[in-house]
Amino acid sequence: MTASRSFPREIDALEQVFGFTAEALPDTAVPPALRRSVDFVLEEYFTNIVKYGGGKGAIAIDIDLSRAGVEVVLTEPDAHFFDVTQVPPIDTTLPIAQRQPGGLGLHLARRLVDTLRYDYARDERRGRITFTIGFSPATADQKEQASDVGH
């Protein structure tokens, strides 16, 4: 089951984005923890495009829910090439005086996903980020409970 929607390139569109994930991934179908992870990763990539993408077209989001988990695709028109899979990890052990928030979001997003792919169509200047988060054994149990509640 795939749900698709487009959003303006604005940070304030996040509320609409989260409304969309709530519709596409209802509590009766996925555990809240899984949706929070999807929201977190989606927010990081969405805001990264808004802040640094440079283009003007709407950002399309597709969410596919299957028995294995969730696949999310963000499609960015007018995109500059930026391969999110190649972002170097940050040092999370630095003392507070040396810590900077920059890069933290992409670092955490990388940790939360099971798979991450970046595709760039140069002719069309279209960037596409695809990530998946599967049902872990623990969340599979929670999913079952959530389904029971929904019936």
Binding site: I11, D12, L14, E15, F18, A33, R36, D39, F40, E43, E44, T47, T92, T93, L94, I96, A97, R99, P101, L104, G105, H107, L108, R111, L112
Partner: protein, 97 residues
């Protein structure tokens, strides 16, 4: 939406979702705090890296002036985020019961 207020016991109570669209509002509130601060996260459902940035900036400012911020009522989900980001080394964290 995010709600942030000063509780009757002096704690800062944050609830809802602290995402990139709410970070400026949260930072504006946190910038007014000084000394020893207790942030009650019991009602905080969601925290993104933008929210982590707010907490980090606040903690840096407070510690530079001899104070600090402690986080209480932290859910398992938030604890994981703090651990992955190394913030468990920067903040004194008390988990929700």
């Amino acid at each position: 939406m995010l709600a942030i207020e000063l509780g009757a016991d002096g704690r800062v109570v944050m609830s809802g979702r602290l995402d990139a669209s709410q970070a400026a509002t949260a930072q504006g509130f946190m910038d007014k705090l000084n000394g020893q601060v207790v942030l009650d996260c019991k009602g905080l459902d969601y925290l993104s890296s933008a929210g982590l940035g707010v907490l980090l900036k606040t903690q840096k400012r407070l510690t530079a002036a001899g104070g600090q911020m402690r986080l209480v009522g932290v859910s398992r989900h938030l604890r994981d985020i703090f651990t992955y980001s190394g913030f468990d080394q920067i903040f004194d964290i008390e988990l929700a019961p």
